[in-house]
Amino acid sequence: MGKILFKTENGKMKFEATSSQQLRTGFRSDRDILKKRSAKYVKLLSSLDTKALTDVQGWKQLMDAVHEEFGTAELASLPLGIVSKCFLGESYEVHILDLSGSQIIKHFKAGEAMPNDFEKARSLAVHNSYALIEVYTDKLVLIREDGTTTKL
């Protein structure tokens, strides 16, 4: 399992919005959840392999994109993480951008088990029709390359 850890000034980046308690209580209507994702967001998050995001700047850029997409007012309803297809090499299958506090991108090989919440997104993440899968505690939101969404 390959890991990219993001360095921060104080060694640990706090991301206050992602406690699971808040995620459970945050309510959004389907119309909100299903709104089309911006091209910038899709592009940035689906190119995690090719971009060198190993520094503070990269992490910040990613988080900014996520914040911008979901709006700062709705921090409570951010996904736990984002799963997408991994292009690192033959043996790698998917990777997770973990938004739940560990601030890492984890790459997984075929057959390698993913953390519980994320495993359910795996087979869809591998499918060519979806660019990203947003994983929430109670649902998956599939994002196509054009930014259109499907809730599952």
């Binding site: 119309r31 299903l34 029709s129 979806y130 599939l142 499907t150 809730k151 599952l152």
Partner: protein, 569 residues
């Protein structure tokens, strides 16, 4: 010296030999008995198998018989129900024919005032609850300028069925070119509507206005209302989610059964065949859906008949469609028709009926009305043009529902094919790993063979006895020793030979099993390759369906009022 007397033991000896003989007989009889027992066991096995066959055949027969009976019953019932409809509401049908006739008569001026007058008064008596009867009276009195009768009849007519009467006069006045009257009726009609609780025939108005049978000003009136309704209904999740759920159900209901025996080996040897089969059925729905939507879209292209014909069609639909009172009977007719269509399969008929059921709901919200028109235009009482329009207005949530249906089916794709062949369990992703799989299978058989061979014990006892006998002869001198040595040698050789033969037999059986299993494995892998290919090909058709749905725009489906429909969205 006492005399030694010899007892005669011959009698005892002969008795002993008789006993011996008898024991041998008993022994052989016991042997015979065990043979008989074995034969019995074989027979019982055969009987079991036959019984099982018989049971299966019987169950199949019972199921088939039930279907036949259902079919016959449904056929009888359809006849009876139609008869009942005819008895209870037959006169409604007559009034409908009469209304059509009067409309045509008025058009051509063939039917005289007197005829119309007498006919219409008669219908008032014969159909006391039907709205169309006073409508005909109002029409007739209007034709002969009898204002007071006309007003009375109109009031009665509106009392009986406000919506239909309003619609009737709205269309009628439009047909006769009374634009102001027609607009007034239309406005009245819309004011009475509640988008969350629309009357069933509202779709007919939508159809009338969108197909351009009204004065252009009517479009503005409709647009104003429909736009408001859509805004109102698509704000929250409830209404859209309801429609989405129905569409997903509709997509699921279009899953075809798998034709033929395309993957016989997988069916037999894949542990997860049910899942594999289900996924295949899921993806095969896509092509059917593509055809379905395509036919809806393309059938509307030949929409070139004149506005007047369309008005006639809508008006005649209005006067020929079922009345609410008739619905319960019409529902039963439909169910029995479906049972006939499904060859007596009641469950399948009920499933289709359930999917269609909301069509028969007397009151619907605007979005539901669109869904009804899109699912089954005939049942919803609309033409194919309005079906296409309904699909195009519902397009955003049809796409959402299709996306969900597709994602759900993709999420269920089995990642591996789990094979169990002759005790050898393995799993393959796409069948392309034949080399590894064959190697795995060889290893499996090698280890199984070792286990089996290990279970055949070395004949230690036989060898030891042979050796002892071989050596025993030397007690009596070397010639006897040589003879006994030969005997002992033969015994040892025999024992070892027997074991070797057994081992050889096991090896041969294993070779045979391995050969067959290898063929099966190769076949399964080949079928897996085909399966994955078919699954991917059919699954990719989902994207075509999506593209097709995205390409649907409302302006394609209304010949005259293109901008109206576009503005609705």
């Amino acid at each position: 010296m006492p005399e030694v007397s010899y007892a005669d033991l011959s009698a005892i000896e002969s008795a002993l030999s008789t006993i011996n003989h008898n024991i041998a007989t008993v022994n052989s009889n016991v042997g015979l008995l065990s043979d008989v027992q074995q034969a019995m066991a074989y027979k019982q096995d055969a009987m079991d198998a036959e019984l099982k066959q018989l049971r299966e055949a019987f169950e199949a027969f019972v199921a088939l018989d039930a279907k036949h009976k259902n079919l016959q019953l449904a056929e009888t019932r359809v006849g009876n129900l139609r008869q009942e409809l005819q008895i209870k509401f037959g006169y409604y049908a007559e009034i409908r024919r009469m209304a059509t006739g009067i409309l045509q008569g008025v058009d051509t001026g063939v039917v005289g005032n007197e005829t119309i007058k007498s006919t219409t008064e008669e219908v008032m008596i014969k159909a006391p609850g039907y709205w169309l009867a006073p409508a005909l009276v109002a029409l007739a009195s209007w034709i002969r300028d009898d204002k007071s009768t006309c007003n009375k009849a109109l009031t009665e007519c509106l009392k009986r069925d406000d919506y239909k009467a309003t619609l009737f006069f709205m269309l009628l006045t439009r047909r006769l070119g009374r634009n102001d009257a027609s607009l007034a009726w239309l406005e009245r009609y819309f004011i009475h509507q509640n988008p969350q609780d629309l009357d069933r025939e509202f779709i007919t108005v939508l159809e009338a206005v969108t197909t351009g049978v009204f004065h252009p000003a009517a479009r503005a009136v409709m647009m104003k209302h429909v736009k408001n309704w859509l805004n109102q209904l698509t704000q929250g999740d409830q209404f859209i989610n309801e429609q989405k759920t129905q569409w997903i159900k509709f997509f699921e209901a279009s899953k075809p059964p798998l034709r033929g025996d395309k993957y016989p080996l997988l069916k037999q040897f894949a542990k997860n065949w049910v899942l594999l089969e289900n996924s295949l059925r899921d993806v095969h729905a896509q092509e059917i859906l593509h055809g379905h939507f395509n036919s809806i879209i393309s059938s509307s292209y030949d929409f070139s008949a004149s506005i007047k014909t369309k008005l006639d069609e809508i008006l005649s639909q209005l006067v020929t469609n079922f009345d609410d009172e008739e619905l319960p009977l019409q529902k039963q007719v439909r169910l029995n028709q479906l049972i006939i269509e499904k060859d007596g399969d009641k469950d399948a008929a009920q499933a289709v009926m359930d999917a269609e059921e909301s069509i028969f709901k007397e009151k619907v919200d605007f979005l539901q009305m669109l869904t009804n028109a899109a699912f089954n235009p005939e049942a919803a009482g609309v033409t194919r043009v309005t079906q296409a329009l309904a699909v195009s207005i519902s397009q955003p949530w049809i796409i959402e529902a299709h996306d969900t249906f597709t994602a759900q089916s993709r999420n269920k794709f089995p990642q591996t094919v789990e094979l169990v062949i002759d005790g050898f369990a393995t799993s393959t992703k796409n069948g392309s790993d034949e080399k590894e799989q064959i190697l795995k299978q060889e290893n499996f058989y090698a280890s199984e063979l070792q286990k089996e061979l290990g279970a055949i014990a070395f004949p230690t006892a036989g060898v030891v006895i042979g050796a002892l006998i071989g050596l025993a002869g030397f007690i009596f001198g070397w010639i006897a020793g040589l003879i006994s040595l030969a005997i002992g040698g033969v015994m040892i050789w025999n024992n070892i030979n027997n074991v070797n033969k057994k081992k050889e037999q096991v090896r041969t059986t294993f070779e045979e099993r391995k050969k067959k299993a290898k063929e099966v494995l190769r076949g399964c892998l080949a079928e897996t390759v085909d399966y994955r290919k078919e699954l991917a090909t059919e699954d990719s058709k989902a994207e075509n369906v999506r593209q097709l749905l995205i390409s649907i725009t409302p302006q394609d489906f209304s010949s005259v009022s293109q901008e109206t429909a576009r503005n609705i969205i």
